[in-house]
């Protein structure tokens, strides 16, 4: 038995990635869960408008609410606009009669926490009971919020995991080497390799959205073109991640490990489950590096809130930047695999490639 134990430890020591996964991952998970996975939401961004704005703002308890704007001159339309562009989750409109509280139903946990906090205030007898109106997701349906996010998560799986497996399979079988000798340009191989996954993922996305609409009655309030633009950029990022994973993996096992390490943080930190705004600053910056964070903003924004492209330029632009960066790096590395000898050959000026007679 001792022979087995010592052999296993030796093997494990050589497999640095598995060791990293066994030691680093639990620590990362603990930290992430500790700071990010917070069912008790705080820092809910709120705006208060209308003549009684200042007074109402002072009533909102901290740290549950974070009042980002107090504007006595503004009215209900401005409040609604703030919710729609995603700057605030809660808007209090004061004026004659009971105040109106608007909430962004696409932020499920935040709204539930806000409702609870306001309920407590009412019990304490804070005077007039406000009217509450929940926008975009009246019934606070979980599936309405989850389906647009899950669509993104599934694309991460296909894009990153399946693509990396496809490319690594080619490397493992030795056919990548053969492709490098065949009369393909590096670009032909890269596009040829990625395009099928892009198409499958796009079809998948349509299927998910249609099922979400048909089975869970998730609305599609906004513009399909905006959604398609965001999805296309997001897909390019995830495919780029897949190719990148494949260029640093020697076999499918390694690729799966690495892809898993890229997928897991996106599940926890992208805002799919826990709102990004209430994460500790120490982990929140990670969220802003993850493409799923932006895709969820876009998909929920378009499907539930009918946000126009003009309100979504920020996540769309950031996805575009990520796409260029990740895909660019991936293509650069993949090209090196495909033509390892070529640039040096030419630089040395010694190798001759005469045209066949």
């Amino acid at each position: 038995m001792w022979a087995m134990i010592s052999k296993e430890f030796r093997e494990l020591r050589r497999d640095r990635r598995t060791v990293a996964m066994m030691i680093v991952l639990p620590v990362v998970l603990l930290v992430v869960f500790g700071y990010a996975a917070n069912f008790k939401v705080s820092d809910i961004p709120a705006v208060v408008v209308g003549p009684g704005a200042s007074q109402a703002a002072s009533l909102l308890p901290e740290p549950t609410f974070r009042v980002i704007e107090v504007d006595p001159a503004a009215g209900e339309p401005a409040a609604r606009a703030r919710l729609r562009d995603g700057k605030a989750v809660v808007a209090v409109v004061t004026g004659s009669g009971a105040p109106l509280i608007l909430m962004d139903g696409s932020q499920l946990f935040s709204v539930q926490t806000a409702e609870a906090a306001l309920g407590k205030m009412a019990q304490k007898g804070a005077g007039v009971s406000p009217r509450v109106e929940i926008l975009y997701n009246k019934d606070l349906s979980t599936s309405w919020v989850m389906v647009p996010g899950l669509a993104g998560l599934i694309l991460v799986f296909i894009g990153t995991l399946i693509t990396s497996l496809g490319v690594v399979r080619e490397r493992q079988a030795g056919t990548l080497e053969q492709l490098a000798v065949m009369p393909f340009r590096a670009w032909d191989v890269i596009v040829g390799k990625i395009a099928p996954y892009l198409i499958v993922a796009a079809v998948d996305l349509v299927v998910i959205v249609v099922i979400g609409m048909a089975v869970f009655h998730v609305p599609f309030a906004g513009n399909a073109g905006t959604f398609a633009l965001g999805a296309a950029l997001f897909l390019l990022v995830t495919l780029g991640m897949g190719v990148l994973v494949s260029t640093v993996s020697q076999n499918q096992g390694q690729a799966i490990q690495l892809a898993f390490m890229l997928v897991l943080p996106q599940v926890l930190l992208s805002g799919l489950i826990f709102p990004v705004s209430s994460m500790a600053v120490g982990v929140r910056w990670i969220s802003y590096l993850l493409p799923l964070t932006y895709f969820i903003e876009i998909s929920r924004g378009v499907m539930l809130k009918a946000m126009p492209v003009s309100d979504l330029w920020e996540p769309i632009g950031l996805l575009a930047v990520l796409a260029v960066a990740v895909l660019g790096l991936a293509v650069f590395r993949f090209r090196r695999d495909l033509a390892p000898g070529r640039p040096k050959d030419r630089a040395a000026g010694r190798a001759q490639q005469p045209v066949a007679s």
């Binding site: 079988a173 030795g174 080497e177 009369p183 040096k344 010694r350």
Partner: protein
Amino acid sequence: MKWGLRGVDAARGRDLVLAGVTMPVDPSRVTVVVGGDGAGKSTCLKVLVGLLAARSGTVRRPPKERIGYVPATAGLYADLTVQENLDFSATAYGLSGRDYSRQAGRLLEQTGLGRARRRLGGQLSGGMQRKLAVGMALLHAPDLLVLDEPTTGVDPVSRAELWRLISAAAAAGTAVAVSTTYVNEAARAAVVVLLEAGKVAASGSPAQILNDVPGVIGVMDGAERPTALAWRRGVTWRVWDPAGALPQGARPVAPDFEDAVVAATLASEHREQGR
């Protein structure tokens, strides 16, 4: 020298893996690169097809469209059928229509894979996989065919069939470079390049290599290995001495090609140690 390497140095990272290697590969001829594991055979062929850059020396190769290459690993798609594998190769090399169906038909017949058309590459036996890979590399009738250990781990019948394919390609005018660990296969070549630790230990036609055997080879009986420069052949020992001073009890013998190759390898090692 139409194609091939001349005085090529190549490195992997900081290690020099080829030093001054010259390997001519000419049309209608088969050049066999022979040597032990790690001698630099695959590296030699990778430099020839352009997968690895030469650090110095001259590499002559036709353009990619005119090369057929099969790496040491299978070199085919396990999840595609035999026919689909051939189709992929044909499309990649721009073959179409009648040319393709005639070539494919002939190759399927030559390789005996005609009945296996619909079988998946991964379900074929090792020998059949190698035949298919060589067939795929031959489909576009390349000027230069480069095969990295096509017969390693293949049964004798399939090996003979693979060599028939290789010879037929050379007869049709293709320049062929093949690496192998089997010395007897090298005897079929027009040119043999014997590699040892990244250097050419001997090269030329099999007759030349046989003729140029350095030192003297003897035959000896006995259970114990008589000297460090001895190897088993059947029930007897072969002994080799660079200066011709055979140990006592050894009878001089006219070497065959296998003896010549082993003696040349030993001579190369001997020279290295002498430095």
